[in-house]
């Protein structure tokens, strides 16, 4: 069976209304940089991962479960799943695995 690598980013952020002391600390530092006009700073985290699965639906199911059960705490955090880069078949030797994240890096 051919499997394909699907590359995702899971972006986790504090839910609206949840205290975000890190965001507040960042915001508090802005004055030191002589910057104004910046507000509502929220600090979250981004997790990038590769899921190897038979098809996109199966991969999506896995990453969704991972995001919900492990990568975020639904009481305090929201998450968004973002496909990054092109899917690549493991049997392929082409360079389609170069993901946007790698390009950016």
């Amino acid at each position: 069976m051919t499997t394909t690598d699907f590359r995702y980013a899971v972006n986790v952020s504090p839910k609206p209304g949840i205290l975000d002391p890190q965001g507040r600390a960042v915001e508090g530092s802005l004055g030191h940089l002589g910057i104004d006009g910046v507000s509502s700073v929220r600090v979250g985290r981004r997790i990038e991962l590769t899921v190897t699965a038979p098809d996109a639906a199966a991969a999506s199911e896995i990453v969704d479960r991972l995001a919900r059960d492990l990568l975020s705490n639904p009481l305090i955090e929201a998450y968004e799943i973002e496909p990054i880069g092109a899917a690549s078949s493991t049997s392929s030797t082409s360079s389609t695995s170069a993901s946007r994240s790698e390009v950016r890096a």
Binding site: I18, L19, P21, A25, L70, N73, I76
Partner: protein, 248 residues
Amino acid sequence: MTVRIGVVVFPGSNRDIDAVHALEVAGAEPVPLWHDEASLDGVDGVLLPGGFAYGDYLRAGVIARFSPVMRSVAAFAADGGLVLGICNGFQVLTEAHLLPGALLRNRGLRFVSREVAIAAERLDTPFTHALSQRSALRMPVAHGEGCFFADETTLDALEASGQVLFRYVHPDGTRAGGEDDRANPNGSLRAIAGVTNAAGNVAGLMPHPETAVEAVLGSDDGLGIIASFVASVAERERAGGKAAVGAR
């Protein structure tokens, strides 16, 4: 017969030896339980100690939640077994959904390591019945993520059902205020320092009663909590593993 109480050891636990000592002071036989083993070794109660399980990576307690031992702890708790989580152990229990709420980064952003005072909201629970005083129990905190959070509806429900077990207080016993009040070391909502589950057999708190069990340690106010837990585990054993003292 001496009761056997499991002390779960995760990679990164660092208060497990303190917990072992406190249980011995309270007359129990501590049994170290390794995180990678599903077996609870037939213990009568479980204590989750402080530390930084799995380095506190991702969120404090979340990776520990998925360890083999925690599946067994969850089953033990579902069966009515008594479970006490201290500091990181409290964080693990909230991440495992065995306790309500979440522990956020301290509002002051700093790791706080000093003595605080707490009050027991009630003395009819398996974790507080042996306390000789309700309020201004002195013991240390040492954590970076101890700000208790739940939404307002949940907080109201916890208050109404008597699940708020401990609150931070001033030395005179009056309730601590919000984040600007030094008596509330992490800005916990409603100054909540510890809670129980709905059934009353699982409890967690951020302060460290296990390091305040002898006067030589600076305070023995925590001993009443550990002794309550040990006595309740013994009581449950005598009753054939069913009712616990004060359990609702």
